[in-house]
């Protein structure tokens, strides 16, 4: 009997999700006993043509990490979608945009200018930008197009399952692969992680005051963090109340607040809005001036509340600089 075939692919990502797969360690050998990995650019030397040669739907699953920003990434995920029975969005970037998604705070042109024209380490007197096509003596060179915004995987192709995390917890990856092989995956569209807030599995939950109120927000480098006490009670912005469990509070175990990489529970549409709601409601002040002063202590609100989910948010991208439009 031939083993089921799977593929791994990466788009706009850092490689941490690939690392998480490798972190399966010896369990990876058990997985390879169960499935054939037929495409995995970071680890195995198969080419795009090998994927194209597969029959449609021949892969039992494609695990795709990274957000989508270029035409190359779009073509590859569309190809893998055609060849796969199931597509799994692996990691925060594929699920909700992730760190690369914060580029949606800037216009495409501003990003190209900053990277290729304004960076202090550059020598680019002619102000050349990467072009999709360039004519040289030897012929025409082509590059993938750089899209107007960063998109999540499910804004490009149909996604069957979501496995969030930055990177996804190793245990969740292992159980997802096992469920896939055993045919015990839940209904399409499911997030393969517990559907409850992180506070529910946080070892510090017992120290959370009944009425949680914060007099001043502090950043981790400004205080000596008590290793036992609820981080919110210490004035640190911890996303635990708004974030899905499944990571066994790994960051909190390392004495750092949760930054929300697991995304929201199933009852929430826009993670950042829900997270800011939770944080704002525990500000102790009632007076408008004091409220504004407390909020000013929160540095970079979008980067704090939408750190992993700006492309998936209801707003998706910063509103473009206004252009005069003719009256319709």
């Amino acid at each position: 009997m031939t083993k089921p075939k799977v593929a791994f692919y990466w788009c706009a990502s850092c490689g941490g999700c690939e690392e998480a797969v490798v972190d399966l360690g010896e369990d990876l050998l058990k997985i390879v006993e169960l499935v054939d990995v037929v495409f995995w650019p970071v680890a195995l030397d198969f080419k795009r043509a090998d994927v194209e040669a597969l029959n449609d739907g021949e892969l039992v699953a494609a695990f795709i990490n990274g957000a989508v920003r270029t035409s190359e990434q779009e073509e590859m995920v569309e190809l893998l979608r055609r060849k796969s029975g199931a597509v799994v969005a692996l990691g925060s970037c594929a699920v909700s945009g992730g760190i690369p998604g914060l580029a949606n705070l800037y216009e495409r042109e501003a990003i190209l200018d900053a990277v290729y024209r304004e960076a202090t380490s550059l020598v680019n007197d002619e102000g050349t930008l990467p072009a999709e096509e360039s004519r040289v003596a030897e012929g025409v060179l082509s590059l993938p197009a750089f899209d107007a915004s960063v998109r999540t995987l499910d804004q490009v192709v149909d996604v069957d399952y979501y496995l969030p995390g930055c990177p996804p917890p190793v245990g969740l990856i292992a159980s997802a692969v096992t469920a896939l092989v055993e045919g015990t995956l839940p209904d399409k569209g499911a997030v393969l992680a517990p559907d409850r807030a992180l506070c529910s599995e946080c070892p510090r939950a017992v120290t959370k005051p009944d009425k949680l109120l914060v007099d001043a927000f502090r950043r981790p480098h400004e205080v000596n963090i008590d290793p036992e006490l609820c981080l919110l009670a210490q004035g640190l912005i911890c996303m635990g109340p708004a974030t899905r469990a499944g990571c066994v509070a790994a960051c909190i175990g390392g004495n750092m607040p949760c930054t929300g990489c697991m995304g929201p529970t199933s009852s929430v549409a826009d993670y950042g809005a829900k997270a800011l709601s939770a944080i704002a409601s525990i500000i102790s002040a009632n007076d408008e001036g004091e409220i504004v002063a407390r909020i000013a202590e929160i540095v970079d609100p979008v980067g704090t509340f939408y750190r992993y989910s700006l492309p998936a948010s209801l707003l998706h991208h910063r509103v473009a600089t206004r252009v005069e439009e003719p009256v319709p």
């Binding site: 915004s149 829900k274 439009e325 319709p328």
Partner: protein
């Protein structure tokens, strides 16, 4: 034909105890105000989930108005304080996202202030008319020309 005037859409979230009752009074008193405002009744301004505001913007609102009881008057003790904290923080996020302060307005309007509902709705409609429509980007491959992407 005369030049069409931009008519902003405003979604208003009014608490049932004060501002929504005030809006009823506005009507009973026959005080006309801009028809651009669509009022939605909440039990308390503290029920306002910031997601409601973003969803309104995403579904075509040019502005969101929130009305609650004056400080100290909340039927549930402190719902209006929570609303204010959430809205001030949400405003910081909107600012970073290029959405003007005028598009999200919080007002304390008691049940007897029907005239204030009229004034606030008219003012906000005029403010947004000056500002023009809110054009949010959609996740399409080339949303550089935002207007074109929206039209598809």
């Amino acid at each position: 034909m005369s030049e069409a005037r931009f008519e902003p859409k405003i979604v208003a979230f009014f608490c049932t105890w004060c501002t929504y009752t005030a809006a009823d009074l506005t009507g009973i008193s026959r005080l006309a105000y801009a028809p651009n405002v669509r009022a939605i009744r909440l039990m308390c301004s503290g029920r306002l989930d910031p997601q409601f505001v973003l969803a309104a913007f995403r579904h075509g609102a040019d502005g969101v108005l929130v009305g609650g009881c004056h400080p100290g008057d909340c039927h549930y003790q402190e719902g209006n304080y929570k609303a204010e904290r959430r809205i001030e923080l949400l405003r910081c996020v909107l600012r970073e996202m290029g959405i003007e302060d005028e598009r999200l307005r919080l007002e304390w309007i008691s049940a007897s202030e029907g005239d204030k509902v009229q004034r606030v709705c008219n003012e906000m409609t005029e403010d947004l008319r000056r500002l023009g429509p809110l054009r949010l980007a959609r996740p399409t491959r080339s949303n550089v020309k935002i207007g074109a992407a929206e039209a598809r």
